[in-house]
Amino acid sequence: MKQMTKAAFLIATLGISACTNADRFDNVTPTDANSGFGQPSGVDSLALDPANNPTSLQYFSQTIGDRVLFTVDTSSLTAAGRSTLDGQATWLLTNSDYLAVVEGHADEQGTREYNLALGARRANAVREYLISRGVPSNRLRTVSYGKERPTEICSEEACYAKNRRAVTIISAGALS
């Protein structure tokens, strides 16, 4: 069953990739031909939308999703979180030159030290899951920011839910 799910997910991912790849050149934005070097060249330069390029960092962070969310005071992965991490694992296995740092975060409802430790638990839960999906452990580091780096600033559950997160940050670099 797990294999089936994974296969289905891969097919789905490839399918999306195929579609979006086909769309790529329809989404280009011509830049202002008069900008830049003064002389109009008569040639429009074209910017690709990197979120549609499956080897791009934007694809990782936006299309797959670079983060998973947690419920209050837990570090258990949700079904949605595991699905996102399956996509992250696939990307990391495909793009094997990249390293990743998993950042664990907490919402502001907690003491500073405890939230650091809780963020470490969350980051580690993601790291362990990615390793279980075949990502070599030496490509994955963890760090916790506790409650130091919220993305949302309100003091309500709507914000807290987004701040209780683990974010996988991709970085280029040789394996140590």
């Binding site: 570090s75 740092v101 502001e108 409802q109 907690g110 003491t111 500073r112 030290e113 405890y114 650091l116 430790a117 809780l118 470490a120 638990r121 969350r122 980051a123 580690n124 839960a125 790291r127 362990e128 580091r141 963890t142 760090v143 916790s144 920011y145 130091e148 780096r149 919220p150 993305t151 949302e152 600033i153 309100c154 003091s155």
Partner: protein, 441 residues
Amino acid sequence: MTRVLTCLMVGVLTLGVLIAQGARAQPLSITITDGVIEPLPFAVPSFQAENQSAAQVAADLSRVIAEDLTGTGLFRQILASAFISQISAFSAPIQFADWRAINTQALVTGVVSVNGDQLTVKFRLYDVFSGAELGAGQQLAGTVSGWRRMAHKVSDQVYSRITGEGGYFDSRVVFVSETGPKNDRRKRLAIMDYDGANVQFLTDSASIVLAPRFSPNGDRVLYTSYETGFPRINILDVASVGRQQLATADGEMAFSPRFSRDGRQVIYSIANGGNTDIYRSDLASGSNARLTSAPSIETAPSFSPDGSQIVFESDRSGTQQLYIMSASGGEPRRISFGDGRYGTPVWSPRGDLVAFTKQNAGRFHIGVMRTDGSEERLLTASFLDEGPTWSPNGRVIMFTRETQGADGAPALYSVDITGRNLKRVTTSNAASDPSWGPLQR
């Protein structure tokens, strides 16, 4: 008269509660208890200036002394507009009847001289109702730039002679100064006088700094820094502002450091593989020992004053609670059993109490309990209070209070361990994570 003075001086030396041998039976003293007390009325007529260049500093000194005393909540200032007689000269006899008439109980007089950058301050404390000095007059000498410290030293003497307890005014606080919006906070280590004056920055805001902790004699500061990209413990020399990374046990993250009372050891947390435990580092040898080995979170350790025990928080029961273990590790005993979650315990300087942060029913509290967990008292309540630190004399707790919402920001507050006299400590920027240093020499 000589006999009375001798008696008083012995009283000062032993820091006992003084009994003035005057006509009045009631001595000038405040016994700090849990009950509501009527603040003791005092007057600090502007100190005499012995020369023209001392005029400003004489006025400033008197003002800061009055602020120190009033700020405790134990004293009430009688303003100069109510004075009947003036102090014409430091050595002139005091017209006690004039001070009694306006219900002044303690009178502080002083004289200031400035020579170049040298400042000399003399002061006397009088028990107005007994018509006698309380303790011997004193002379302090230093530089003009250190005038606030001299004022605090006078205040410490007055406080200590009247309450029988050590003072806390000539002390400093290391903390985190914060600027910027909530989702892009910039944090810098800073140091200031206990009352928020003389702020100096110890680091820039290039990387996150958290939870500085003073060494027992105030010469060094431990803190958590992200300058390597990962949380590591730095040890900073206050005088030179030089810093180096503490050689901790191996781990992905090191944080939550605190000194032992002799300043030779550091206890801290390491997170590895998502699990946080407590370790101890011996600064001289660089050796590290692991003190806890549980799959739960063990963090926020604090030594007992005698160094034999450590209080810390753990969620081994399912929620954050407080535990005490031997300084060498071993089986801890739980001390917190009330509703809610307990964290950031800090052992009091006298050894009898543990201050903590409590989270219950959506509110945060600063509280104290005895070391066996009994007599829990919550001193504050707000959206977010955390991280208590003790005044040098163990009478006052400073902590972080953060306000709610998108514009929420932290500030420093202090409160008596009786729960009275809650007030904000003025800082120009938002501020968090105070650590109160010792009385300065």
